[in-house]
Every structure is written in structure tokens, then in C-alpha cells.
């Protein structure tokens, strides 16, 4: 597992959480710029999913089991897009809170992914 990529996803996710949290604090819904931010974070998570699968196909194995690893990879990829769709139908500050919460969930998933892969 590429540690650099895991860290990058976690850090950008936390930045997105702070950004959307700030929008919620200012009583604003998510805007186009926020969606571009979500797209960037989701692309990184997608890259991680691809890298993870490539590494599995090369015969490398995560420490805590392959099924859990793949489940977390998919969950990490879906977290921010799912929150983004919810915020599309909730055009208030609470849509921004949802995206911030989704990004925090992603950051937590990254920590777990790091543990699951091991070393």
C-alpha cells in the first residue's frame, strides 16, 4: 500500500472537511468550488482503489485479510461522493455539514486502511 497516497487522501479529506465546515459555519450550502474539491478527493480515493487492487493482483497481501481491505477501499471511494449527492438535495448549511462529516469518515477509513495493510 502506498503510504504517501494514503496520507494524501487523509490530508485532502480533512482539508475538505474544514472547508465545508467553514461554509456551514457561515450558513452557506455547498457551491461549485466545493464540488471540485470533492472531485479531487474522490479521484485520489479512486487512485488508491486502483493501486490497492493492482498490489493485490501482484500477490501482496494485507495483514488483516483481503476481504476487509477491499471493503474498506470501496467504502473509502464511495464516502465523499455519497455525501456530495446528499448535499445536492439539501441546499442549506446542513448539506455542507454532511459533506464535512463524509470527509471526516473518509479520513478515519484511511487510518483503518493503513492498519489493515500493516507495516
Amino acid at each position: 500500500m502506498l503510504v504517501a497516497l494514503t496520507v494524501a487522501v487523509a490530508v485532502t479529506a480533512l482539508a475538505l472537511a474544514a472547508w465545508c465546515g467553514f461554509a456551514a459555519y457561515r450558513d452557506q450550502p455547498t457551491k461549485d468550488w466545493h464540488f471540485i474539491g470533492m472531485a479531487v478527493v474522490s479521484l485520489l480515493a479512486l487512485a488508491q482503489l486502483v493501486v490497492g487492487i493492482v498490489q493485490l493482483s501482484r500477490g501482496e497481501r494485507p495483514e488483516q485479510g483481503m476481504t476487509i481491505f477491499i471493503a474498506y477501499l470501496i467504502g473509502a471511494f464511495l464516502a465523499v461522493p455519497a455525501a456530495g449527492f446528499l448535499s445536492l438535495t439539501e441546499r442549506t448549511r446542513w448539506g455542507s455539514v454532511t459533506v464535512a462529516a463524509g470527509a471526516v469518515v473518509l479520513a478515519v477509513l484511511e487510518v483503518r486502511l493503513y492498519d489493515i495493510w500493516g507495516n
Binding site: G65, T67, I68, A71, G75, A79, A82, A83, L86, S87, T89, E90, T92, W94, G95, V97, T98, A101, G102, V105, V108
Partner: protein, 145 residues
């Protein structure tokens, strides 16, 4: 008589489902959705891989997933009936977290493997304990809104 003339109690009848899943409720829908997926996938994977290792823990995870799923559905559906059943489920959820949390603290050997509710949900940033409380607060407020 128009809709606006009705008293709030009448408006909460079957024909006028109010939204539980908008505003702050949307954030709850998100968290309950995440926990439905987390608890369900966890129990399904563990049951398939090795059910004999900790049957009690895995069945408990599955029950938790059902409760989370039902609350998510109720929040999305809205209306007085959904609000009431979600309130009951949130209370059951809180009770489950507290009982299982105390149980795992007092006698760790009772569960061979962890569940979402072990140690008051410590492995999940204590969200399993915070969620039913916020859920009940929101559901109680939604009645007057």
C-alpha cells in the same frame, strides 16, 4: 379547510408526512446510512468467514445493522408514524450500546470478537453512543417543528 388551517397534530396525520430527513436530519441520515453499511458489511463478512468464532458478537452486529437500517429508512420516509418508530429504535439502540458496552467492560471474555457496540463504540470514535442521543433530540424537536 386548507392545509394551513390545520393544527400541527392534524397535519402530522397519514396524508401529510413531514420531513425528518432534511436540515439537521440530513446529517443524521448520512451517519445512520454509514453505520448501516458498516455494521451490515461487518457482520456479513464475519458470518461468512468464520461464524463459529464469535456467534453472539456477529448476530449482535447483524441486529445493530437492522436497527440502523430501519432508522435510516424512517428518517427518509418521514411522518408521525416513522418518527415514533424511529424514536423507539433510537432508544433500543442506546440501550443496546449501554448494555453491550458495560458487558464488554465487565467481562471481556463474553465476546470473542468485537462488535460496533463493544466498549461503548470506542472503535468507532464513540459515535454509536452519540448517535442515538442526537437522533432522539432531533426526533423530539421535529414533532413541534
Amino acid at each position: 379547510m386548507t392545509d394551513t388551517d390545520r393544527t400541527p397534530a392534524a397535519a402530522t396525520g397519514e396524508k401529510q408526512p413531514f420531513d425528518l430527513g432534511t436540515g439537521p436530519g440530513r446529517v443524521l441520515v448520512w451517519f445512520y446510512g454509514v453505520f448501516t453499511v458498516a455494521a451490515a458489511s461487518r457482520s456479513i463478512v464475519q458470518m461468512i468467514l468464520d461464524f463459529g468464532k464469535a456467534p453472539l458478537a456477529y448476530v449482535l452486529s447483524a441486529v445493530a445493522a437492522l436497527v440502523y437500517g430501519f432508522i435510516t429508512y424512517s428518517l427518509v420516509r418521514g411522518g408521525e408514524k416513522a418518527r415514533r418508530s424511529a424514536l423507539v429504535c433510537c432508544a433500543a439502540e442506546l440501550l443496546g450500546v449501554l448494555v453491550v458496552g458495560t458487558w464488554t467492560m465487565a467481562e471481556p471474555s463474553a465476546f470473542a470478537d468485537a462488535t460496533v457496540w463493544s466498549d461503548f463504540g470506542m472503535g468507532y470514535l464513540f459515535i454509536p453512543v452519540i448517535l442515538p442521543v442526537t437522533g432522539m433530540m432531533w426526533l423530539r424537536r421535529a414533532r413541534t417543528a
